[in-house]
């Protein structure tokens, strides 16, 4: 469950317009908070395909490629588009590659839900880490093992930026 802030988007605009240096510093601070998760998540990607035939070329199914999968894991510190519920993400950890997403989420619903399903595929890739629906094997596992430190650091960075902005630019 992500933390919710108020005025984060407005603060970012204000920083960009009136205190660009502070804005850049804030972005770096947030990135520094997210980098450990990304690094750890990339480490969760196996170098060899957990399934024998996944790495074989041919067909439409995304092929296992550790390099592409690791490259697809990253972070984003700019506001996203609002989702269906109206929330805009100020900082995200993303797993953007197709094969990485498969590795991340495979088996979320299949094990035990449908008797006719074949759980061997998911079980072969290992257990899912996380709670509730937010379960995964790469970024979600890294975020789970971070214990919320990244979230705290991001919130702190935003809070500090706001305070600094008010203390400097707001007094003008």
């Amino acid at each position: 469950m992500p933390a919710t802030v108020k005025g984060g988007v407005e603060l970012r605009k204000a920083l960009r317009n009136y205190a660009p240096n502070l804005g850049k510093e804030t972005q770096k601070e947030i990135a520094n908070a997210l980098k450990p998760i990304v690094k750890q998540a990339r480490g969760f990607i196996p170098s060899e395909s957990p399934l024998s035939n996944w790495a074989r070329e041919g067909g439409k199914f995304p092929v296992f490629n550790a390099t592409i999968m690791k490259r697809g894991i990253g972070y984003k510190t700019t506001p996203s588009k609002p989702n269906r519920r109206g929330f805009t993400a100020l900082a995200q950890i993303r797993n953007r590659s197709a094969s990485g997403a498969i590795y991340e989420t495979a088996g979320r619903n299949a094990p035990g839900t449908k008797p006719s399903s074949r759980p061997n595929f998911a079980q072969a890739m290992g257990n899912l880490e996380g709670s509730g629906k937010d379960k995964g094997r790469a970024i979600f596992a890294a975020y789970e093992k971070d214990y919320g430190n990244a979230t705290k650091a991001v919130l702190k960075a935003i809070d500090n930026a706001g305070k600094t902005f008010n203390a400097t630019v707001g007094k003008r």
Binding site: P2, V5, G86, Q92, I93, R94, R96, I102, I139
Partner: protein, 520 residues
């Protein structure tokens, strides 16, 4: 593309679905409003068109009925009563609530039958009473009365008026009308006083309003149609209806509603007040003044008006250009006058230093003869290009020539005179010599004119001929020699002629006229 993300920090910025729903709702609202306006416009336009059409139709029918009645009056020799009849029908309409569209045909029917305006008016009033009393149609009642006037009482008996057969058989219209009057008198007025009567009166007012509006609509369409006349009436009506819009539509709606709403009196007052308060009154006044203003002149279409305005503007522009040119022309004329005056001054100065002119004037001053002076004056006029001086010089020259001619004639006369006197003296001398030699006393007095015919001047001294005989007798009677004293030496005849000529010149220079009478 896969979108597996973890949102570290989020902010609620509003649900796009809600925004979309809000926008869609707003768009829907606008669309509905626009559609409503369009529907209202279509509805109003169609209603307005229908009302305008009905108004024009009502006016056309009313005018047709009025023309028919006027023609009937003229055919029966009652054209003089046309205005009175129209007033009577109008009053009857207001009093009874019966439309003039019904009254006019009824009156025309009665007028055709009776041929008398008074009888027709009484008959129409009675027909209204009978119609109100029996519930029969006014047209049928008036037709029955008209037939009764013609001697056919059958239709009258079928009206259910309760006339007995004996009375009808008599055919006496006074009796029949008397009975009918007794039975139905006041029915029409009574019917007009009730609620239904008020409604009928309002219907009459509504119909009259329609006719008035219809007339104005037709006039307006004529104005809009311009030279094409009323040919495009439908198009013109639609265009006119669209332009006038809801104003006439409102009148139409109110007029229609009056028929069905109670409290018509209040509505009438409201309409009157609304007319005074709202812009409708001002619009009505404007229309009335426009109609009065255009009564004497034909209506102009916008195109004609535009063309006239353009022609006026062009004429004004042309006049301005002419004025500008006139100003320039005046300035040029003034400048030319100044230049002319300067030129004249220069010419005058030039004349003062003109050597040739100075010489001519010197010669003029030194000249003694009139002819010479005139010639010099002519030269001066030619030199100066002076037409006035030239004409003057020419006159003097002609006078001088005449004088010269006269002088020549005078010289000839003097020569003749001298010759005559010489001949006479010679004859006298000869006679005296003969006498002295012969001692006789013979006297011969020869007629010198017969003895020596001399050339006579032909002109201009014709009178000299007349005096010739007188001179001859005079000289003949005297018989003595004539002694002429001449200054200087006169040795020859030519010297004598020259001396006489000079003497004549001197006399002329002294102002003594040279005529035969002054010579003697």
């Amino acid at each position: 593309m896969a979108n597996v993300v973890i949102d570290i920090a989020t902010q609620y910025t509003g649900n796009p679905a809600f925004k979309k729903a809000t926008n869609d709702a707003q768009k829907l609202e606008k669309s509905v409003a626009k559609l409503g306006k369009q529907l209202a416009g279509v509805f109003a336009a169609s209603k307005l068109y229908a009302f305008g059409k009905a108004s024009v139709k009502a006016f056309a029918e009313d005018e047709k009925a009025a023309r028919s009645l006027a023609l009937a009056l003229a055919n029966t020799g009652n054209a003089f009563a046309s205005i009175e009849v129209e007033k009577f029908i109008g009053d009857l309409q207001r009093a009874t609530g019966v439309l003039d569209d019904n009254l006019r045909p009824a009156f025309r029917t009665l007028l055709t039958a009776t041929g008398d305006v008074k009888k027709s008016q009484d008959g129409l009033a009675l027909a209204l009473d009978i119609s109100a009393g029996t519930g029969k149609d006014l047209g049928a009642v008036s037709m029955a009365l008209a037939k009764a006037y013609g001697g056919q009482t059958t239709a009258l008996s079928r009206l259910g008026a309760g006339l007995d057969k004996a009375t009808l058989k008599t055919g006496d219209m006074d009796v029949i009308l008397g009975q009918l009057t007794e039975k139905f008198q006041g029915q029409a007025l009574a019917a007009a006083e009730g609620y239904s009567g008020s409604i009928a009166k309002l219907a009459v007012a509504s119909q009259n309003a329609k006719e008035i509006i219809g007339k104005d609509l037709l006039d307006s369409m004529r104005m809009i149609a311009g030279q094409d006349g009323i040919g495009g009436a439908a198009t013109a009506m639609e265009s006119f209806a669209t332009q006038i819009g809801n104003a006439i539509y409102g009148i139409g709606v109110l007029t229609t509603k009056i028929k069905s709403l109670p409290g018509a009196d209040f509505i009438g007052r409201f309409l009157s007040a609304a007319t005074q308060v709202s812009g409708l009154g001002a619009l009505s006044k404007f229309g009335a003044s426009s109609k009065a203003a255009s009564a004497g002149t034909p209506a102009q279409s916008p195109g004609q008006r535009k063309a006239i305005d353009k022609a006026n503007a062009d004429a004004l522009k042309l006049q301005k250009s002419k004025n500008s040119l006139a100003v320039i022309d005046n300035a040029n004329t003034t400048r030319k006058l100044v230049l002319t005056a300067d030129q004249q001054a220069l010419e005058e100065l030039k004349k003062k230093f003109d050597v040739e002119r100075i010489g001519l004037y010197t010669a003029l001053n030194e000249a003694t003869g009139a002819e010479t002076r005139a010639r010099i004056l002519s030269l001066i006029a030619i030199h100066d290009n002076d037409a006035a001086l030239a004409s003057k010089a020419k006159a003097e020259l002609d006078a001088a020539k005449n004088i010269s001619t006269f002088a020549d004639s005078a010289a000839r006369a003097a020569a003749l005179l001298l010759q005559v006197s010489y001949s006479a003296g010679l004859a006298s001398f000869k006679q005296s010599e003969i006498n002295s030699l012969t001692g006789g006393n013979t006297t011969t007095t020869p007629n010198p004119l017969t003895q020596a015919p001399l050339p006579m001047p032909s002109s201009p001294l014709e009178s000299f001929r007349q005096s010739e005989a007188k001179y001859a007798s005079y000289s003949g009677n005297s018989g003595s020699p004539i002694i002429v004293n001449v200054a200087g030496s006169v040795t020859t005849q030519q010297d004598l002629v020259t001396a006489i000529t000079q003497g004549i010149y001197n006399n002329q220079a002294s102002g003594i006229p040279i005529t035969y009478s002054t010579a003697y």
